[in-house]
Subunit: 410 residues, 2 copies
Amino acid sequence: MKPMGPIPPWFTSEESMLLIGGCGAASLVDEAGDTPLFVYDMGVIQTQVDALRDAMPAELAIHYAIKANPFGPLLERMVGLVDGFDIASGGELEMALEAGQSPDHISFAGPGKRDDEITSAIRAGVTLNLESEGEAARALAIATRLGRTPKLAVRVNPDFDLRGSGMRMGGGAKPFGVDAERAPALARLMIDAGAEWRGWHIFAGSQALDAQALIETQAATVALAARLSEEVGVSPPLVNLGGGLGIPYFPGDTRLDVQPIGAALAEALGKRSPILRETHFALELGRWLVGEAGVYLTRVIDVKESQGERFVITDGGMHHQLAASGNFGTVVRRNYPVAVANRFGSPNTDEPVSVVGCLCTPLDRLGDKILLPEIHVGDLVAVFVAGAYGATASPTAFLGHPAPKEILVE
Amino acid sequence: MKPMGPIPPWFTSEESMLLIGGCGAASLVDEAGDTPLFVYDMGVIQTQVDALRDAMPAELAIHYAIKANPFGPLLERMVGLVDGFDIASGGELEMALEAGQSPDHISFAGPGKRDDEITSAIRAGVTLNLESEGEAARALAIATRLGRTPKLAVRVNPDFDLRGSGMRMGGGAKPFGVDAERAPALARLMIDAGAEWRGWHIFAGSQALDAQALIETQAATVALAARLSEEVGVSPPLVNLGGGLGIPYFPGDTRLDVQPIGAALAEALGKRSPILRETHFALELGRWLVGEAGVYLTRVIDVKESQGERFVITDGGMHHQLAASGNFGTVVRRNYPVAVANRFGSPNTDEPVSVVGCLCTPLDRLGDKILLPEIHVGDLVAVFVAGAYGATASPTAFLGHPAPKEILVE
């Protein structure tokens, strides 16, 4: 038997049926028409946003990194919930505008922006987070050609990382942003060239569950922004402090308490350098806002034995939930939280089962030797923490299966 | 500096431009309209098929597992080149029929076939490789409802694996097929129920570069097919011996010589049990037929320094070539073969570079600290061995970038 990650604590059931946003899982499948299905619960997202606003200093803006989940109806709802969108491609620019976000509240980061993407962004009037001197030169040239004043920020590769983060985005040689020591010169160049100076984007890491590490990183980020601004001699309108707040996926992971993080950030901002006095600050979060709001539902097609082990075969799999299969940035495969949606809360049997997908590859495993209640063909398996980096971060065309369905519940 | 895998030996250049199927890489990009671009060279595939037919016993059929690369124009050409298609979903069934393959030469394996997929398959008249007793019962019930005689084979989970294979598909508890000791009873049941008995599908592993391991596995597979058939007392029309032939991706990998494998298989077939005398045999290959025929071309958007390291940023990445980024079934990331397509054969500089994609994640790396010729914005990077499990086995929607283009050259 292998352990699995914790099921988010708010999930309940009615007559053993898992409720998502107050609706039974089976009814949601009926409504969507079929499995496999991603269900996103806006109530959970609202709760996350509320908790964050409650914990963080009032002046702090909350940005949504739409790469985490760009499902159209969800994006539309996020417009009213957060203060801005962060995008990573020309395609995401279209999605953000389509969802109704104002270009004034969109910023575009990404180490490999093509000329056509920079052109669309400047034309739309969104902020470009410049990732290199070369990109800066291209942006200026394109803006001149368009006869527009570009809104430019500089993405900084900080000289520190976020301890314990799932993905380090700073503290060493990185393809992202401009090394901190070169950032002031680039900012000066943009200001002198007549660009609208937007400030700094400093992203040190993501998916950290260590509050103390986040606190130290945010303080270091505020200090770095001050140091860079002082070198430039210009107060930045905005400092994007990055994200980094993690969510529990695996055995032993615990939920972050954002209260002490907010208190520490308030303290760091309270004593900030005078050059940042008028500066706005933002946190950029993707996974933390939406990850726990998603449940991936897939139906059991077969239950079989092989060499004394028990396999539950579902109609979903790694083509929809690559991360849950352990094939997305993880070295050692660990189990996401999984349940039998229509026997939610029923006692587990003592015989471990492996829940696999329908693909013809041993990589396609959603739960490895886990304990579940008794399970039969036709049952619904729920894979939790499926709200971020699910459908769009998976190889949906693999083996020619249909794309997963997605619905939003309130 | 880190090494990279071997560039397939037949690639040449003209005026330093990489030729693929006799065409310059830059012209192919012009023809396709843009990068990123997958180019598949039918000439290479033809050479692979010829080499295999030359090495293998004349009676051996060659099947193509279309999951490796289901690009429409390629599938159409494969119909005339191989003796059958192996499919893994209802979607692949449509692709195979669309490409012009006859249902008589299509077989369908996959541990999680949905009822609608089984229905389409029986209606179309393709062979189902049954993966469990439960699936067998569903197939019989659906055939009865349709008033059709189903063509059924049994996929066997062999009691041995393919030593040194990249993916083990046998030799232990597996979600694929029916354990060897239960297979004869299931076959008997299908025959007694009036199904058209098609024989055995035995797949022990894939991506092996050890000829001796392949030889032993094929001999064991023939022997297992005989033992199972003797238990049933019926000669199987077809035994699908699986695949397993690997191709070189990584440093130290060497190309398989198929001649000794073919000679050994001829010997194994020559002394086969009388019950297999009239049986046809097939090899099912995907990657081996098409993998080396593909080149992924992506354009350099930026070249930058960070903390003394050099990064080449391209407009492609892991959203198109997940496996090359090291995030598809590999534990330790190793470098695929990579070249600068428009400086092919030029001497390398002695300064390592990391070739990364355009995504905002440190996972998006196509070449880690490799040696390349001098490289500039606008250059074309070629990632080799991109013909199998590329475009369809990657999260193409990730971060909202456009799908890659694909072309076939003769």
